[in-house]
């Protein structure tokens, strides 16, 4: 009874959340075009790219924090099915971090061309984010190279955990070191350069991007779990058709009415 009520309230919340996203995305897009062009930019109209660029970077960072936690849960899991479910969550979170990270790099590169005159000018923040994406790409390279599913899950999970320290350093420490001169403004510090109009639109797009990526993550995990269930059922069916080894008695399922 409790489970039924909690699942129905969760589904109502899900429907409300999706409805808000469907209404919110076009509304915030229009709102973004209504704020005045930013002064001090080479092309003030294009400063609106910030509304997409920065939420993608933050979204990627959030999923990069979640993925090692899921990997840790997988490594600590004693139950096989539970471990596989955590691995599916790890892969889903890392995939979303990679996609949003690539979007950050692409929009950042466009911004760089407009503002600084180069598609890529090796700005410390730009470079450190590229390195983070290379770590994520190496994670998928490792998964692709290992044949066994369990080994794939454990080894790639261990790699992701080993990468936590470099990822933290690259995202949070390196671009803020006093010896490193970055062209990126530090928007998180007090008086970081965003006026009220831009800050409100940015916060709204951040909420929307987080909502969309969380939705995609949920769908990806669900698809992964269904895929796993299907694989298990196929294996069971294949096993049923195979003749039993000599001296082995197979369990036989009887009709429930007792014949």
């Amino acid at each position: 009874m409790t489970n039924d009520s909690s699942s129905s309230s969760a589904s109502v919340l899900g429907i409300v959340g999706k409805a808000l996203l469907i209404v919110g995305i076009p509304a915030v897009t229009v709102w973004g075009f209504m704020v005045p062009p930013a002064e001090g930019f080479m092309q003030p109209d294009l400063a609106r790219m910030l509304f997409f660029h920065l939420p993608c970077a933050l979204g990627s960072s959030i999923f990069l924090m979640l993925a090692p936690y899921f990997a840790l849960r997988n490594l600590r899991s004693k139950d096989h099915a539970d471990g596989v479910a955590w691995d599916i969550r790890t892969v889903a979170a890392t995939e979303i971090a990679l996609v949003t990270g690539i979007l950050t790099l692409v929009t950042g590169s466009l911004f760089s061309k407009v503002q600084w005159g180069e598609w890529w000018n090796w700005d410390p923040r730009q470079t450190s984010f590229l390195l983070v994406m290379l770590i994520v790409a190496a994670y998928f390279a490792l998964r692709g190279a290992l044949p066994d599913a369990e080994r794939k899950a454990h080894n790639s999970g261990a790699y992701l955990l080993a990468a936590v320290l470099p990822i933290m350093f690259l995202i949070f420490v390196y671009p803020r070191l006093p010896q490193v001169a970055t062209l990126h403004p530090n928007l998180l510090q007090k008086g970081g350069g965003l006026d009220a109009n831009y800050r409100n639109v940015f916060l709204s797009t951040f909420v929307l991007v987080t909502g969309v990526t969380a939705w995609i993550y949920q769908l990806r995990v669900r698809a992964g779990l269904y895929e796993l269930e299907l694989e298990l059922q196929n294996a069971e069916l294949a096993d049923r058709d195979r003749p039993a080894a000599t001296g082995m008695v197979r369990p036989v399922s009887l009709p429930s009415d007792g014949g």
Binding site: L75, L131, L134, I135, A138, A141, L142, A145, L146, P147, D148, E150, R151, H154, N155, S156, G157, A158, Y159, L161, A162, A163, L165, P166, F169, L170, Y174, Q179
Partner: protein, 228 residues
């Protein structure tokens, strides 16, 4: 499994040293690579003296690649020779990791020493602050040994493991290049005393990274090794 943990670590370390003495593959490969780096750098910068930053960059990248060539071999060779199961039976995972990591640490320090001698003798490198140079080498060695040993273990059963180990280890080690070059630049100098504190900070960063890599490595390795 009655032997003590320390005895197991030394047994693994001794096994690695004896195996290396028999084949001498890693020593020759890393040694040859160091010589070739110095020769290539001397040809590329013929008749020109590099700046301290230039020397620091080339030196650290040479050390990084010589580590990437030699270190992952300690695990991949176990799979190639089919001795990994025997190792699983005779030693605990932490002892295996520490034995191989200590062996790799000695290897990196020897490579760093060889590179330093070659750079000083043939590439006109002069070191202004030797103790800072030594601390930077100790920290760099620990960080390289910890990260590359773990990556070697992770790819041991994978296809194309040699290239994959470098692919995995490089992004983890690239942050170290910044710290390594910052420390070596000051150590090579001569730079003003106002730069010394920056060099010391970078050296401390390298040592801390090395300690963290060696501390976390055995736990991650144990989780992977028992399931292999």
């Amino acid at each position: 499994m009655n032997s003590s943990w320390l005895a197991e670590v030394f047994a693994v370390l001794r096994k690695e040293a004896v195996a290396e003495m028999r084949s001498r593959t890693a020593i020759f490969t890393a040694g040859l690579f160091s010589i070739m780096t110095v020769v290539a750098m001397s040809i590329a910068t013929y008749n020109e003296k590099l700046s301290p930053s230039g020397y620091a960059g080339v030196f650290w990248v040479a050390l990084l690649f010589s580590a990437l060539i030699a270190l992952p071999r300690t695990f991949t060779i176990e799979e190639e020779q089919g001795t990994s199961d025997l190792l699983r039976l005779t030693a605990r995972p932490h002892a295996v990791f520490w034995g191989k990591a200590i062996y790799n640490l000695i290897q990196v320090w020897l490579a760093a020493l060889a590179l330093s001698v070659l750079f000083c003798a043939f590439a006109h490198l002069s070191i202004s602050i030797p103790w800072l140079f030594a601390v930077a080498m100790i920290g760099s060695g620990a960080a390289l040994a910890g990260a590359v040993t773990l990556c070697g273990a992770l790819v041991a059963q994978a296809a194309n493991r040699g290239a994959l180990a470098a692919t995995l280890a490089l992004p983890l080690l690239v942050p170290l290049i910044w710290l390594g070059v910052a420390a070596l630049r000051v150590a090579i100098g001569p730079m003003g005393p106002e730069f010394t504190s920056g060099g010391i900070q970078a050296s401390i960063g390298l040592v801390c990274y090395g300690i963290a890599a060696l501390a976390i490595g055995p736990y991650l390795f144990a989780a992977v090794w028992k399931n292999s």
